[in-house]
């Protein structure tokens, strides 16, 4: 009788211990299955959301060219089909990687994409679409987080000849894709040369040179410009490389006035109004302060792949630092993407040139929009090849869940 009782007690104890251990072990297996399901769902969701973004123009369809808040989020160019993206809708996305710039003369902050020293895209925060709003418009608020990045596929690298200040100017243009050079690519280019003296009302004048060339088997070509024959001559150079449907942009400037220059702020997208500010109003470099005179023009890539200049009204003016000196204003009179080129002059011997893309693609600026993917446990990614204003881009979406294991497809 006693041995039977001991047998029962030992058996029950061992059984209960075994059940506890196996429950834990099976729980791990079940969690593994749930995790698998979650990740698979997230991957599918990433693909769906990326297509939703890229294959719908949003509501209204032209929201990228207005200052109005959209009622639906989408980036497709309303004038095209397939994966052709609006360069203006992308321009309205709050650039995650840039610190906003405050301009005290308007009392506003501006979303900031600045590439290199003198290439700006500063858009008023009142026009910018922020990440939380995009989440709501996509219907994934508190459910998923994402980061959308758009990067040009083709890199066009422009460098001056290794012999600095060579006479005449020699520019080397290298075009390559993701690790592969664009051999025998068709290159169209525009060189804007600044003449510090000679413009209206003391402003700088400029002349433009257009041309075409082909790259060699290494994807590079060297261009020579007799017109730039002095080291103090300022210029900007923009080149487009074309090959088999791939188009990329590269650019380079030479300036002689480093600290005192002009900064363009896009103040009103609908009207194409751009404010021209003195650099000291944004960042004070110390005395002396000099007035800066400017002369603006606009170039765009025509359907035949050549660059064309579009004249601007009231393109000439001057700005200075501090109160009592108003900013200048130019209006871009087109809804086609292009480049606002502003030549400036600090003194008879110092000046330079700044460029601003009108539409993100004109200078192949990158876009990073959304949250921080590096802080997430598991991120699903997907990519598409797209064209933005005719320029080849790669769209990458990183998506993560905000609801852990409770997310269902």
């Amino acid at each position: 009788m006693v041995s039977s009782t001991i047998d029962h007690m030992a058996a029950i104890t061992v059984f209960l211990a075994a059940i506890l251990i196996f429950t834990g072990l099976f729980n791990d297996t079940i969690q593994t299955a749930v995790t698998y399901q979650l990740h698979k769902t997230l991957s599918t969701k990433a693909s769906d959301i990326l297509d939703t973004m890229l294959l719908t123009p949003g509501i209204p369809i032209n929201w990228g060219q207005t200052d109005a808040s959209p009622a639906g989020f989408g980036l497709q160019d309303p004038e095209f089909t397939q994966y052709q993206i609006s360069p203006f809708s992308l321009m309205r996305l709050n650039y995650a990687a840039g610190s906003p710039v405050f301009y005290y003369k308007t009392g506003s902050y501006y979303s900031n994409i600045t590439i290199g020293g003198k290439n700006f895209l500063l858009l008023s925060n009142s026009s910018v679409l922020d990440y939380p709003t995009a989440l709501k418009l996509l219907g994934i608020n508190n459910t998923y987080g994402f980061q959308l990045s758009m990067n040009p596929i083709v890199t066009v690298k422009v460098t001056e000849d290794s012999v600095q200040n060579a006479n005449p100017l020699r520019l080397s243009v290298e075009a390559y894709g993701t690790g592969f050079p664009l051999a025998n690519a068709y290159v169209t280019y525009c060189l804007v040369i600044v003449a510090l003296n000679g413009g209206e009302r003391g402003s700088p004048a400029f002349s433009t040179i257009y041309g075409t060339e082909f790259t060699d088997n290494q994807g590079s070509v060297t261009l020579e410009f007799d017109e730039v024959d002095r080291a103090d001559l300022c210029y900007s150079f923009v080149a487009y490389a074309h090959l088999g449907g791939l188009v990329g942009v590269g650019y380079l400037e030479r300036v002689s006035a480093q600290n005192q220059y002009v900064i363009p702020f896009i103040d009103n997208l609908s009207e194409g109004r751009v404010l021209i500010a003195h650099s000291y109003d944004v960042k004070y470099f110390g005395p002396p302060v000099a007035e800066v005179k400017y002369n603006a023009t606009f170039v765009f890539l025509a359907d035949d792949h050549t660059l064309r200049e579009m004249p601007l009204n009231q393109s000439v003016g001057h700005v200075n630092y501090g109160d009592g000196f108003p900013y200048g204003v130019v209006n871009i009179p087109t809804n086609n993407p292009g480049i606002l080129i502003i030549t400036y002059k600090k003194s008879a011997t110092e000046g330079g040139i700044v460029m601003m893309p009108w539409g993100i693609s004109s200078l192949s600026f990158p876009v990073v929009f959304g949250g921080d993917a590096s802080k997430q446990d598991w991120v699903a990614t997907d990519m598409r090849q797209v064209t933005v204003g005719g320029i080849a881009y790669q769209a990458n979406l990183a998506l993560w869940s905000l609801e852990g294991y409770q997310v269902n497809g």
């Binding site: 050079p181 090959l243 449907g245 791939l246 990519m383």
Partner: protein, 449 residues
């Protein structure tokens, strides 16, 4: 003891079950759980390569090694380095015979084996020869009119068309604009012009419609004049005013009246409109004060008289100037947009030395239907003016005046008319046997097998 053994047996069974479950429920590695959507990536890559129709061209020129080299470079440059590819072009068969539906024509590949985790997309390319067609909407086809008259009078001389003849300009304009009109008629001499002014058809075509037509004067600052309007001839009272410093200014008044009556759009391609009249027969011994025979000056009163006729005012000789030299002018946004839409690209900078004053708008009941160039102060370098009587909403005659300096660029005339009437372009595609080829792009991940 028996119970303990039974429990141990149960534990062994459960352990076996756990091992079996764990073996089959292993979490796959990330590439399998969350793969890049290779199918969509390959489709978008194909669309990208064909964004300028380069892929379509290559698919139909498989023997063109240069083109295929470029395609291979573009494909390699557009894909991430960890992706392998195989691109194959297939001929699409008709399916009616017993042969293959798809026949391989060409293929390029970056590796012999793409592994097991590959995916593919197909893309149908179309031949550039036969697949795309643009059909312009005909101006005026739904609202009456639709006839373009191009003055090509053999018995008149032109002025400020330096380097061209009116006839060569007329031919170019015919080629440029005739696709956009229901009927295009060349007015071959001033007799035909007189028939036209009387409201009669001159081609015999049922498609010709005199009312609401467009007339392009290719003679620059000069306008052809039928002989009947010459001094002493049958219609001299409508073409000759002996009291005026420039007697044939009266003919311009008659022209203005005709344009109002027939609701024409008159296009002046360069310079000062109606500054001279020309007929090489009746003016054979007279010249325009610059030594060009067959022509008489009407001077600045010509356009005044024309506008008086257009506005149905009483004719009164008025020689007061109405233009100004405004220098360099620029195309408006509307016109620049039309450049891209219609594929006509004149320079956006032009020089205007004969810009018309805005004062004519109120003086002659005109409104601007289209600004071709940006206004400069109180002067319009180029515009389409519509005549609308007070209290009416109907247009009764229009004039396109391009007050540019010589030599004329007729692309500006064509562009101005197209930007004003805005005929749509209908693009269509055809698919037929032999005009389509299938391109399949298969992508695989490096080490994916």
């Amino acid at each position: 003891m028996m119970r303990t053994i039974e429990v141990l047996v149960v534990i062994i069974i459960i352990t076996g079950a756990f091992i079996a479950t764990s073996y089959f429920a292993v979490l796959p590695w990330p590439r399998q759980v969350s793969p890049v959507n290779l199918r969509r990536l390959s489709l978008t890559t194909l669309e990208l390569l064909d964004s300028n129709y380069d892929l379509s061209k290559a698919a139909f020129e498989i023997d063109n090694s240069t083109m295929w080299d470029q395609l291979e470079v573009a494909l390699s440059a557009s894909l991430p380095p960890n992706l392998l590819y195989n691109l194959t072009v297939y001929e699409v068969g008709s399916g009616e015979s017993a042969g293959e539906l798809y026949r391989t024509l060409a293929s390029i590949s970056s590796a012999e084996d793409l592994g097991s985790t590959s995916d593919a997309s197909s893309y149908l390319t179309a031949s550039s020869n036969v697949t795309f067609n643009v059909t312009p909407e005909k101006i005026g086809e739904h609202a009456g009119g639709g006839t373009l008259y191009v003055l090509n009078c053999s018995d008149a001389n032109g002025w400020w068309i330096t380097g061209y003849t009116a006839q060569s300009l007329a031919e170019d304009l015919y080629n440029l604009l005739s696709p956009y009109f229901v009927k295009t008629v060349m007015v071959q001499d001033t007799n035909q012009l007189m028939q036209l002014l009387d409201g009669n058809k001159i081609s015999g075509s049922s498609e010709e419609n005199v009312q609401n037509a467009v007339i392009i004067n290719t003679f620059g600052e000069c306008v052809p004049m039928p002989q009947a309007y010459y001094q002493g001839n049958s219609r001299a009272n409508e073409g000759y005013d002996a009291t005026a410093a420039y007697p044939y200014t009266r003919y311009c008044y008659t022209l203005g009246q005709k344009i109002r009556v027939h609701n024409w759009t008159w296009a002046s391609i360069v310079g000062y409109p109606f500054y001279y009249v020309s007929n090489t027969a009746v003016f054979q011994n007279e010249q325009n004060s610059y030594g060009i025979y067959g022509m008489r000056m009407t001077s600045q009163g010509g356009v005044r008289a024309f506008l008086q006729g257009l506005d149905n005012q009483t004719y009164r000789y008025d020689s007061s100037g109405v233009t100004s030299d405004v220098g360099v002018v620029t195309l408006t946004t509307e016109t620049l947009d039309a450049c891209n839409y219609y594929g006509i690209y004149p320079s956006s900078y032009q020089t205007s030395t004969r810009a018309l004053s805005t004062s004519i708008l109120s003086a002659y009941h005109l409104s601007v239907g289209l600004d071709v160039f940006n206004q400069n102060g109180n002067y319009l370098p180029g515009a389409v003016y519509e005549h609308v009587f007070s209290g009416s909403s109907d247009t009764t005659g229009s004039i396109l005046a391009l007050g540019l300096t010589r030599t004329p660029d007729i692309r500006l005339t064509g562009l101005s008319l197209l930007a004003y009437y805005q005929p749509r372009l209908y693009r269509s595609e055809y698919t037929a046997y032999g005009t389509s080829r299938l391109v399949v792009l298969q992508l695989g991940l490096v080490g994916g097998s």
